[in-house]
Assembly symmetry: C2
Homo-oligomer: 281 residues x 2
C-alpha cells in the first residue's frame, strides 16, 4: 500500500511537468476517474484529506479545490467530522452504443430524438479521402443535434447528394436521412462504412454539446457510396465522449445465414436481426 502511494505520487509529479493544466484540476480528474470506474465504490468513504495530500503530494488547499469541483458535479459529498463520500450511484455513462452493423445503424437512427439546426456558412462539399468515392455534383448540407432526456450528446453534419435530397426535401427536413435512403429500393449502395477517431471539441461543438472547449469527443464519419462510386451520403458526427461506447462481437458466426448475418445489435438482448436483402447488389 505504501509502495502504491509512492509510485502514484512520483508519477503524478512527472505527469504534472508535462501538463500545463492546473494541479487541482488534474487531481480532480484522477479522483473523478476513480469514482466513475467505481475504484471508489458508490456511497463509501474515500481517503481522508491527509491521505490524499500525501498520495498526490499536494497541499491541503489543492485537494480541497479538487474535492469542491467533484462536489459541484455531484460525485462527492463531504461531511464535516465524518469524511468525504462517493456519490451513491455513478451516472450511467457510455449508454449510447455506436452501431457496428448496417441494421443496427438504421435501427439506432430511427429512434433518434433530434433537432435540426440552421446553418449559415455551410461548406458546399465534403472533404473526401481515399476510399470515400467521388463527390456528387451538388450537395445539401444538414445539421442536427441529438438529444437524450434534453441532454445533447451528438451533432450531425450531413452532406447529402442533391439528387437524393430532391426526391423528398420535406421528408429529409423532418426525419433522419439514413433510414429514408435505406428504405428506397432503387438506390443501390455499393459501399458503406463508418470511421471513428477521438478528437476534441471546437467552439461550436463545445457550445452545442455543453462540454468544455477541447474536451474529448468521438468523431464518426459515415459514408455511403452508390454503384457509380459517388459519395451520396457523408455524415460527420461529433459525440460527447462520455456518452458513447462501441461494442464489437469478434466472433460473428460464419455459419449464420450465408456469412452475411449481422449479430450484435446495439442493446444487450441483441439476437434478432433483420435481413438486408435490398441492399445486396
Amino acid at each position: 500500500m505504501k509502495l502504491l502511494a509512492n509510485a502514484t505520487m512520483s508519477e503524478l509529479s512527472r505527469a504534472y511537468d508535462r501538463s500545463r493544466v492546473p494541479l487541482y484540476i488534474q487531481v480532480a480528474s484522477v479522483m473523478r476517474r476513480r469514482i466513475e470506474t467505481e475504484q471508489w465504490r458508490p456511497g463509501t468513504k474515500i481517503p481522508t484529506l491527509v491521505e490524499l495530500e500525501r498520495e498526490f503530494q499536494v497541499a491541503r488547499v489543492t485537494v480541497r479545490q479538487a474535492v469542491d469541483i467533484l462536489r459541484e458535479e455531484g460525485l462527492l459529498r463531504a461531511q464535516q467530522g465524518r469524511g468525504t463520500f462517493a456519490a451513491d450511484k455513478a451516472a450511467d455513462r457510455h449508454w449510447f452504443k455506436l452501431a457496428t452493423t448496417w441494421d443496427a445503424l438504421i435501427e439506432t437512427i430511427k429512434n433518434n430524438v433530434r433537432k435540426p439546426i440552421k446553418v449559415h456558412n455551410a461548406p458546399r462539399f465534403p472533404t473526401l479521402r481515399d476510399g470515400e468515392g467521388d463527390p456528387a455534383d451538388k450537395y445539401v448540407f444538414l445539421r442536427s443535434v441529438q438529444y437524450k432526456d434534453a441532454m445533447p450528446y451528438g451533432i450531425v453534419n450531413l452532406h447529402l447528394a442533391s439528387t437524393i435530397y430532391n426526391r423528398a426535401p420535406n421528408v429529409f427536413r423532418e426525419h433522419p436521412a439514413l433510414p429514408v435512403v435505406a428504405g428506397w429500393k432503387n438506390i443501390e449502395i455499393q459501399h458503406a462504412h463508418q470511421t471513428v477517431v477521438i478528437g476534441s471539441a471546437d467552439p461550436t461543438s463545445s457550445d452545442l454539446l455543453g462540454i468544455a472547449l477541447g474536451a474529448p469527443t468521438a468523431e464518426c464519419r459515415c459514408v455511403l457510396i452508390d454503384r457509380d462510386n459517388i459519395a451520396i451520403y457523408v455524415a460527420d458526427i461529433t459525440y460527447r465522449s462520455d456518452a458513447i461506447q462501441l461494442h464489437i462481437d469478434l466472433l460473428r458466426r460464419k455459419r449464420a445465414s450465408g456469412g452475411d448475418g449481422v449479430g450484435a445489435g446495439s442493446a444487450k438482448g441483441a439476437g434478432r436481426s433483420r435481413r438486408r436483402s435490398r441492399l445486396q447488389s
Copy 2:
C-alpha cells in the same frame, strides 16, 4: 466571415466559463485542431495575431502563449515581420486501425512491438461485467507496452486464466497471448468481444504513454469466453487517443474479409482530397 468570427468568439467565452483550463491552452487546442485537420493548410500563413486576438477575444499575450505551445510542438513556425505558418506536413495521426474482426485482431497483435512491464501490485481478478462470463479460479496478470518507432502508444493489462497460462508460461512471457491461444485447437472460444470507450489518462498511463494526465485515451476491453462460460482472457488496453482509429465496413460482404482494411500499421500515402471545403464548425 465577420459573422463567423463573432459567432466563434462568443462561443469561446461561453465555453471558457464552463472549463477551468487556462485560456491560452484552450486557444492552443483550437488552433492545434485546425492544423491537424488541415483547415489551416500545411505550410501556409495563418491569420495574424491581431485577427486571432479578435476572433478569440483574448489579449495579444494570450494568443502568443498559445502560439508558443504549438511552436514547441513543431506545428507552427513564426517569423517576425512575415507571419506565422503552419507546419509543412501534418503528423500522421490515427495510424493504428483498431481491429473489428477476429482475424484482423490476431493479425494486428502478431505484428506488435511490445515490451513487458513488471507489475508489483497486480489485481488478482478482473472485474467482470454482465455478459463477460464467469471468473476463472485463478489468473495471471501481465502488462506490456506497445511501441511504434520507439513511441509508446498502448498499454496492455491482461488477466489470463492460470489454466491457460500454465500450458506454456515461457511462451506467454515472450509473446502476445492472443495469437497463441487462438492457435490452440483444443480451446473452444464460445464468445469474444471488444468494447471501446473514451477515457482519460491516469497517472500510470500518462507516465507510460508520455501524455498529459487526464489526456483522452481509448480504453479497449477484449474478453474471450470459453465453452464453460469462463472468461479466460480479459485484456484492458489503453491507447493514446491520437494514435488510433476505428474503421467499420457496414456492408460486410462474404468475400470482403480478405482485405477488410484492418491491418496493423502504416497509413497509406497522403490521401489528398480533390475538393477541399472546410467543414466549418
